[in-house]
Amino acid sequence: MTAVVLIDTLLLLLVTVTAVAIIEVRNLYASAMLTSVYSLLLALVWVNMHAMDVAFTEAAVGGGISTILLIGTLVHTAREEKPLKQRVHWRALLLTALCGVALIYGTFDMPRFGDPKAPIHHFRVPEMMAQTVGFANSTAGKQPPPAGFDPAEYRSFNGAVASVPVDPTDTGWRENSVLAQHGIMLPKVLGDEVHAAHPAEADHHQHPADDFNGHVPNSVTSLLAAYRGYDTMFETTVIFTAGMSLIMLLRRPRREGYLQRSAPLADQPVLRVVAKMSIPFILLFGLYVITHGELGPGGGFQGGVVVACAFILFALIFGRPALYRVLPPPVCDLLTGLGVLMYAGTGAACLLLGGNFLDYAQLNSLSPGDGEALGMTLVEYGVGLTVSMVMVTIFNQLAEEQAK
């Protein structure tokens, strides 16, 4: 734990410094570059806090896409911020200071960093994690949550009891904790009962599932695609909307878009060869990330971004006309929509099969668990498709503008 806190402390100091630099540096390119540095630093912070998926996304989006977007915009807007009259904007400073003080005031009653007694760690989430999602024959997926809760248990939600032993070797408090029943947020000693619980799991997914109480290993994915799948559907819609907005705002009549001189990089043999060699692997990796989301970090969004990067790289090296030949804008638009439709369609399918919207269990009447697995995979692909296509669209639109 100390290690976490220590690294965390240092990284965050770095982050803060970078943030100040981003705001204060006047050269916009520099500031864009610093933004990507900032994102990478944050990615490290997330890793340090064990938020692997977030780190992955942050790296892909902050480090990759955002930077591309910013550069793409800077090319045809401005490279320097015009000098300010006075260096410090006092009113803004005052306002932010007040706001900050208010927020910090709110932090004093928060559960301390890493306090396992924090309500969020043992109210609803452990109950969810105690369910089974996405495993064969696991009909146990939808038990009702335990009725009510004892407020007394949660008295310590405000920082009063932050005296949790930071020493991991001392595990005495774990056994006699009121939370042992959930056993997810807190370590749980495994016996043989688990094997009894889910006999069929071992031969279903080729991973040591039998050690788990029947849950998709990457619980982030299970939350993302199953419990809160509905949010994720709208997350996809947000991306889709962004794509549509850019088309409405920036797309020029077809002619202009197509008449692009080929990119200057096209005649650089090294780049061409490297690109030709690497693009297939990038695509492959992207697909892997999408598919593998259930087991490890990754999922539709991250994978989609990776795939998009392949296309963008292609466009950068061989010019956008080439990309348009491979992936004509109209097709791209339709695929963008198709992704969202895959997601919503899966939900609708569950509905038509007699369940609630997005109730994946309906997809496989014999083994609800498989149904859930199938559903989650489908929606992940939907997300991936939309994300990649939108990223390509955004790049295209900004590039079209640039080429004019």
Binding site: A102, L103, Y105, G106, F108, D109, M110, P111, A118, P119, I120, H121, H122, F123, R124, V125, E127, Q131, K142, P144, P145, P151, Y154, R155, F157, N158, A226, Y227, R228, G229, Y230, D231, M233, F234, E235, T237, V238, F240, T241, A242, M244, S245, I247, M248, L249, D333, G337, V340, L341, A344, A348, C350, L351, G355, N356, F357, L358, D359, Y360, A361
Partner: protein, 514 residues
Amino acid sequence: MLDLRQVPDLLQGPGWQAHLPVLIVTIPLIFGVLTIATGKGWKPWAWATAVTGTVFYLALQLIQRVLASPTGMVSYELGNWPRQWGIEYRVDALNAFILLIVAGVGFVTTVYAKHSVEKEIPADRHNFFYAVWLLALCGLLGITVTGDTFNVYVLLEISSLTVYALIAMGKDRHRGALTASLRYLILGSVGASFILLGIGYLMMITGTLNMQDMHERLMSVPGILESRTVLVAFALLLVGLSMKMALFPLHMWLPRAYTYAPSAVSALLAATATKVGVYMAFRFMFTIFGVGFSFITMPTTLILASCATAGILVTGVTAIRQTNLKRLLAYSSVGQIGYIVLGFSLANVNGVAGSVAHILNHALMKGGMFMALGAIVYRLDRCDIRSVRGLGRKMPLTMAAFTVGGLGLVGFPLTAGFISKWYLVQGCLDRPHMWPLAGVVLLGSLLAVVYTWRVVEAAYFQEPDDDRPVKEAPLLMLIPMWVMIGASVFFGINATFTGKISVTAAKALLGVGP
């Protein structure tokens, strides 16, 4: 139409109506996405009209189910996850009512949009425009049905993002649309971030995202309401929501946005967007924090009432000085939001009922008036005091619609506006020492007289600059316009429906007996 007395067996039963809440949101989503494939010409419009029509029909069905259900609400668990874990849709009298407003206005506005969009938006973008249009509706409807705080945030972002894009589509008429949109984007995102943060604070100390669950935790865990975290969460949400619903000091984004957006978009926004913001405020203050905390522990009444009062008076005076009628109406809208906020800041039955009723009434009147302006723009390419002179004879129906709407804003008896004022003033008088607020409400309607009458006089008693003939607006604009205005008059003459449902909703929110 469902029979009002069909009861719970349907609610539990597998009948398709059990899925109404989710259908209302997902239909515009799915078919909105499909809109991009509908090609050119009138097809996207026809498609969008069909979709919004369906949604309106579903909303009608839903409100009947809700009123019929013994518990007074309909719950839907997405993915069949128990509400504490998954996402829950929870529809009671209040959001069924708001849903009906948004869906209805959405439908009428879509019908209206055809001509105005043909004139104001480049032809090669219509399919994308209507796609985004439907997604905006989807977002607004989603916010209204959901019972999960984070879901509120995501849908809020959908509706905001689409609205930024829609506003920016006014760029071909006036470049101001771009800055208006960007300014709204920045303010809106800051507001939304505050909301996200507030939700985070609440989740952190309640351990859940479900509104009911949160409420139960906040009520049952000892000492939780005294914690500084909850206090700051409340403040964050208050600020964020005020930005979203354009409450007076934080309304800067609204006038420009409404002025430069395409006419159809202005009509849609004026009638729905800010209203949904108000609805969110209802949910967070009454349903999650509870009346006791929001209005007794916190000085909310004082803050909101003073903001609203200032808003009503200041924007009223500002509106009088405008020449661009769209901007005039925009300022008046901010003032009207003031009325709505004033109502629920009183936290008594009449006050809250007044603001719920005014959400509908204002949506109808303002929507209709913006449609009238849209028609004027369609014929004259502009809508300012100078251009409407003598228009009372040239476009009689359009100007008549505008006038009747104006009378509604004044709160003239037998128009919808009067009903809202009726409840609001009662609310002010019910609350001890709040009677000056009643004075403010009435004073506000006098300001409305002035800015409406400037237009009426110009239209009916002044001579136009040139006598070139102006045709009356096309039928497809007149009908929706008059549907809105007619409805506003109808609900002014017979407001039993509005009155009943808003009182029911108010009582449910305040937790007093049915």
